[in-house]
């Protein structure tokens, strides 16, 4: 009964009353939406297009949306360049982001497991302490962490961008929520079979949590790949830089070579955009979930 009553009120039905106007309105709506969306992503399209232009065409007025003479020259120029080894930066970024994501997921999953599924003394205190730091603004950590990283002899090495950001309070919180939602039965069966806690964790909990682990890994990878402020100050030699600080040196070194800078920007965007297209649902759901529970 209820469903029958609801139907006529559904959004699509409103246009129907106007009969023939519906098709036209729908088309108009798509046209407007599409134009807005195109304007919205046109900066990214222009970035992509410019990276295939010659030096002259990149700064020509009026701007062209299709290169007259498409060339990979800009890519070739920066990949080989002496002071701006973009290929090296790309590799550094990959290593740093992958290592950081792995560290985040491994430590957060291990920490979240007892917090979700064991009883022990000081559990609440530990959990409150971890969650409490979600509200600590990161600016507080910049100066002391710079000195700590210096003490560890990690300045100007990739360790500085892999390890300090790996203690993810959000990760612990996110995985704990997920572990809490898993059914008890499988864990119990494993317990009866004589499995210890580590075996339960690695053979029961982790395989069941794959979607959550992947989501966290993606978010951690994305964050690390894009991090700018910290690497700008802790990585200073050209060979140790990651792409974000690398782009800023590329900009200051070639203020007029926008073909080069855009090629660098495309290289820095390509993996995350590809990842996003590939794992769109994961990323967007991860973000909205993190939002709702915060």
């Amino acid at each position: 009964m209820a469903t029958v009553l609801e139907r006529p009120a559904a959004p699509e039905a409103t246009g129907e009353r106007r009969g023939r106007g519906r098709g036209g309105r729908l088309a108009a709506r798509y046209v407007v939406l599409t134009i807005l969306a195109l304007i919205f992503i046109s900066p990214l399209i222009f970035m992509f297009v410019t990276s295939f232009k010659t030096r002259q065409e990149a700064t020509a007025v009026p701007p062209s949306w299709i290169p007259d003479d498409p060339t990979l020259g800009a890519y070739r120029a920066i990949l080989d360049a002496e002071g701006t080894p973009v290929l090296r930066w790309f590799a550094n970024s990959m290593i740093a982001a992958a290592a950081n994501a792995a560290l985040v997921v491994a430590t957060a999953a291990m920490a979240a497991y007892p917090l979700a599924r064991m009883d022990f003394r000081f559990k609440r205190v530990v959990f409150a302490l971890i969650i409490g730091t979600l509200f600590v603004p990161p600016v507080i950590l910049i100066i002391p962490n710079y000195l700590i990283v210096g003490e560890l002899q990690w300045l100007d090495t990739l360790w500085a961008v892999i390890v300090p950001t790996a203690a993810s309070a959000f990760g612990v919180f996110f995985l704990r929520q997920f572990f809490l939602s898993l059914p008890n039965e499988l864990e119990e069966a494993a317990l009866l079979d004589g499995a210890n806690k580590w075996q339960i964790f690695s053979r029961v909990i982790l395989p069941l949590s794959r979607p959550a682990l992947v989501t966290l890994a993606l978010l951690a990878f994305l964050t690390n790949w894009n991090d700018f402020l910290w690497p700008v100050y802790v990585l200073f030699s050209p060979e140790t830089q990651t792409l974000p600080p690398g782009l800023s040196t590329l900009q200051s070194a070639n203020n007029v070579r926008y073909d080069l800078i855009m090629a660098g920007a495309v290289i820095a965007s390509a993996p995350v955009l590809a990842l996003f297209v590939f794992a769109q649902r994961f990323v967007i759901e991860g973000v909205s979930r993190s939002g709702l529970k915060g």
Partner: protein, 326 residues
């Protein structure tokens, strides 16, 4: 230690009828929890806690200690100066007060203009994207895409697009008959329009996705009821959507304020802090003081003052949203 209880468990588990299984399983879980050694949970927590202690907890305390010293990284002596780094910030004669408060002012300007836009525009996007139409997911992805890119890409891209002479923004403004010579990056207030505009473009997808999740949690029955009562679309938005989104909105407000107060990369890359140091934000001032000039005591003190301001702001937001509820 664990063996004695196990036979009893088996006995209980085997004959338990399906209906009782849920209860029995809860009982067994707490018992199995007691059986484990006290060290087990801590071994699981250890790797995380080492990282957490070293790079989160210790720095919070260490930062206070640094802020109480004349901590020049490049010099051997780091004498204790008590609260002088803090009092200097409030003494217009000192060298640190000027840059810091200029940065705070820039941050305040940016926050005041970007936060309202980042509350309203993403809401509009979310409301549109919440309707049912084909290709909706593609449009959602388009609006979210810029957010996936880092501030470095955004910064160098828009420095190019907003270039006074060769930038396409001025070019197209000229094409539609508007002034085509606007100094977007080198003069205020134009630079603020650029920084706020780019930030809104870049991050609106993030807020829109959170709103979208909130919209989907509003029960459809409420809209049906409002329709039955004869409410029009605007009235339904005012009386159903907005109240339903209140918890989400308070979260979005908080996150957006925090992000705006932490603005750094956009002005570092797009305007280079220009004109003069007008668009140099608080974080920019702190990192330059601490990590460029190595005056870490001053920078640490600045970061705690900024944090205090941020906390007061958060409390105000919290209070604002709670007040309206009752």
């Amino acid at each position: 230690m664990s063996t004695p209880t196990r036979p009893t468990e088996r006995e209980v588990a085997a004959p338990a009828p399906a209906a009782d299984r849920l209860q029995a399983s809860t009982a067994r879980r707490s018992r199995s929890g007691r059986r484990t050694s006290w060290a087990t949970p801590w071994l699981f927590l250890l790797p995380y806690l080492v990282l957490f202690g070293t790079f989160v907890l210790a720095p919070i305390v260490y930062g206070v200690w640094i802020s109480l010293h004349d901590y020049d990284y490049t010099l051997p002596g780091k004498p204790w100066v008590g609260l002088r780094n803090y009092t200097n910030l409030f003494d217009s004669e000192s060298v640190t007060a000027g840059p810091f408060w200029d940065g705070m002012k820039a941050t305040a300007i940016f926050t005041v203009f970007s936060v309202p836009l980042l509350l309203v525009v993403p809401l509009a996007v979310a409301v549109v994207m919440n309707q049912r139409f084909r290709g909706r997911n593609l449009f959602r992805a388009v609006y979210f895409a810029p957010y996936v890119l880092g501030v470095a890409v955004i910064g160098v891209l828009w420095r190019f697009l907003l270039d006074r002479n060769i930038g396409i923004v001025n070019h197209y403004l000229g094409v539609v008959g508007l002034p085509d010579d606007i100094p977007w990056l080198t003069s205020v207030p134009e630079a603020w329009v650029a920084l706020v505009g780019v930030t809104v473009w870049w991050t609106l997808g993030f807020n829109a996705v959170i709103y979208l999740a909130g919209l989907q949690d509003i029960p459809n029955e409420l809209y049906e009821a409002a329709k039955v009562d004869g409410a029009n679309a605007w009235q339904r938005f005012r009386n159903v959507t907005l109240p339903g989104l209140r918890p989400v909105t308070s979260f979005v407000t908080m996150v957006t304020i925090i992000a705006s107060v932490n603005m750094f990369g956009q002005s570092y890359l797009m305007t280079l802090g220009q004109p003069g140091t007008d668009t140099r934000t608080a974080i920019y001032a702190i990192t330059e003081t601490g990590l460029r000039n190595f005056r870490m005591g001053d920078a640490a003190a600045m970061s705690y003052v900024l944090t205090l301001v941020l906390m007061l702001l958060s409390l105000a937001v919290f209070w604002l949203f709670r007040e309206r509820k009752s």
